[in-house]
């Protein structure tokens, strides 16, 4: 939902970043306001996943220039956990398996961390169970997944649903979904998309990073950005995604 009067959540200016000495982002500009849904598209290697990891604070990436203000804070001065507590969320492209840590224990620990940050009471395991039983409906997850180790033995679709469950529990102001649609069959895609849609409010925003237009049929973006060679080379409405689907990326690369 576009409302130019709504609050700016994220403002990225001329962001440059490198990994292992190789410059990947070469000047990215992006403004995200509350209530908006953005899609960042591009071919493999265009820098779109790097962009999401840099925003979340992945230690392998080094910011070499530019700035990112998130809710009035200079994002790159914050540790990854401080960014999370400030309301930034990254749904991982490849969710990590953590044997020995139960899903419910992690969710409760993360939830209570946020509660403390917001000056609210922590929940004990019983209270949290009531909350989580509601939240798992968002992603139609079987309660048995709560007792299992985080992502261990989960299918690709189950892992992605688990990421969205974490988003539902943490209630971020800005969620970045990194290739959340990859590896999903059509049923899982629908469930994940429904989950994300149900979490959208006028006060939060979503940035989807994706290669395919398919996801955008389910989560309709207000803005579509095309990234190429470390820059955003074109911004348009949802119709831009359809054009990309029909024409591919080459015409834009030539234009850039």
């Amino acid at each position: 939902m576009i409302n130019n009067g709504s609050k700016v959540l994220l403002e990225v200016k001329n962001l440059k970043a490198e990994v292992a000495g190789v410059e990947i982002l070469k000047g990215v500009n992006l403004t995200v306001r509350a209530g908006e849904v953005h899609a960042i598209m591009g071919i493999n290697g265009s820098g779109k996943s790097t962009f999401s990891k840099v925003l979340a604070g992945h230690p392998d990436y080094t910011v070499t220039g530019g700035s990112a203000m998130f809710e009035g804070k200079e994002l790159f001065t914050l540790e990854p956990e401080e960014r999370a507590r400030a309301g930034l969320f990254l749904a991982f492209q490849y969710p990590v398996e953590i044997p020995g840590v139960s899903n419910s224990a992690l969710l409760r620990l993360a939830y209570n961390t946020m509660q403390t940050e917001r000056g609210l009471e922590e929940l004990d395991p019983l209270e949290f169970d009531d909350l989580i039983q509601e939240k798992i409906k968002v992603v139609e997850m079987d309660p048995s997944f709560l007792g299992r180790s985080v992502n261990e033995g989960f299918s690709g679709g189950e892992k992605k649903r688990n990421e969205i469950l974490q988003m539902a529990v943490l209630e971020p102001r800005l969620a970045i979904l990194d290739e959340t649609d990859s590896g999903l069959d059509i049923d899982a895609l629908r469930i994940v998309a429904n989950g994300v849609n149900s979490l959208l409010t006028p006060d939060n925003a979503v940035v989807m990073v994706t290669h395919y237009q398919r996801l955008l049929n389910y989560i309709v973006p207000d803005f579509v950005h095309v990234m190429d060679a470390g820059r955003i080379v074109r911004t348009g409405g949802k119709e831009l995604a359809l054009e990309l689907e029909a024409r591919g990326y080459d015409w834009l690369r030539a234009a850039a």
């Binding site: 979340a56 604070g57 992945h58 230690p59 540790e79 990854p80 956990e81 960014r83 999370a84 507590r85 969320f89 990254l90 991982f92 969710p95 990590v96 953590i98 044997p99 020995g100 840590v101 992690l106 620990l109 993360a110 961390t113 946020m114 940050e117 180790s149 974490q166 943490l170």
Partner: protein
Amino acid sequence: MNLTKEQCFEQLLLGKSFKSESWLGPIRDKAGARAQALNFPTARQDDWRLTDLSPLFQYGFHPVDSYASVTLADIDSLLIPGSIRLVFVDGCYASPLSDLKQAGAGVTVSSLLDRYGDAQVEANFAQHALFDQDAFAALNTRFFEDGAFVHVAGGEAAAPIHILNVATKRDTSSAIYPRCLVVMAANSRATIIEDYAGLNDGINFSNAVTEVVLKDDAQLQHVRVQREEKSAFHIGHCSVIAARGSVYTSTALAFGARVSRHDLHVTLRGEGAEATLNGLALIGGRQIADTHTRIDHASPRCVSRQLHKCIADGSAHAIFSGKIMVREGASGTDSAQSSRNLLLSGKAHIDTQPQLEIFNDDVSCKHGATIGQIDADALFFLKSRGLTEERARNLLTHAFAAEIIDKIPVPSLVEALGRTILERMNGDHVGGVSR
């Protein structure tokens, strides 16, 4: 105190004399003579090459000459609800703290001293934990005061049997000699928890010996928890003899002591016997924890499984040496061993030595070892969910340890140990910020 190694050993040899049963007296004498001849192991002995005992040698350890009055409240945090309990204070049986009500028919749980006349005691005592090459076992056999005796004559013990050894001395450094004999009759089943703890930060030396005998088709879940004070020293030896079709499962944890060592020798002496050895050492600061295991496949078609984990923080040193022997004639042996290790600091040190000695074809022996650090991707993931670096590291460390702790078949103990570990990690011992 700053003794030499020789002075320290001389001091240990000044232990008490005991008036013993006619069968036991000669064993004590022989053990004393053997201890004197062997003296402390040296770094030239391969089995002790990596174990730095020098912190131990600085102290003079005295025989226990008086007994502290310990109340149930003092040991409350160590108790396992619903268990059959034997408590030893500084090596001496504490009847008022023990609870044998649930032992039931066919299950003998007792102080060793009270059962010197028992045929099982005489037949098995010092017959399995041999002291001819082991000075510490010899010292124990010479100077032990009392010990635990468990005999399950048949059927299943009604509750877990908790053998709790607490060290209390603070003003004088004491040498304590816990002793344990377990005899599982044919087809019997039991869970035994051997537990070593300290009640204060005294510099005591526990030198423990345990013997376990499983007759045909017996099954034993044997848990060992070494949670001594960080100032203490602990050397423990356990010998297990497993007969035909018996199933022995050990879960041994080492958390405490300045220097600790655990030798576990399992002999599969009967067709189709099975042994599972789970081990965990979780240490930090300047701690040293050494685990030496030996699984001896002495009969055909026996099975052994082993998973040992070391976690070392600070400038701690963890050692694992695991030998699998397959004797001539032990055809159809099936053995797998895995050593997995986690280094939490750049100054910590882990040595792992899998060893196979195979004198037979027709066997399957797999083994592997890994040493790693906290997984960077998992750490970033947890931080991205709002957890601090320290919390995330502790959670991952705890998860690594939990794979072993969760194998303990006593839920209340699993929970209590899980809490202990998290507390320790939040302190300065393991995974904490102060190194």
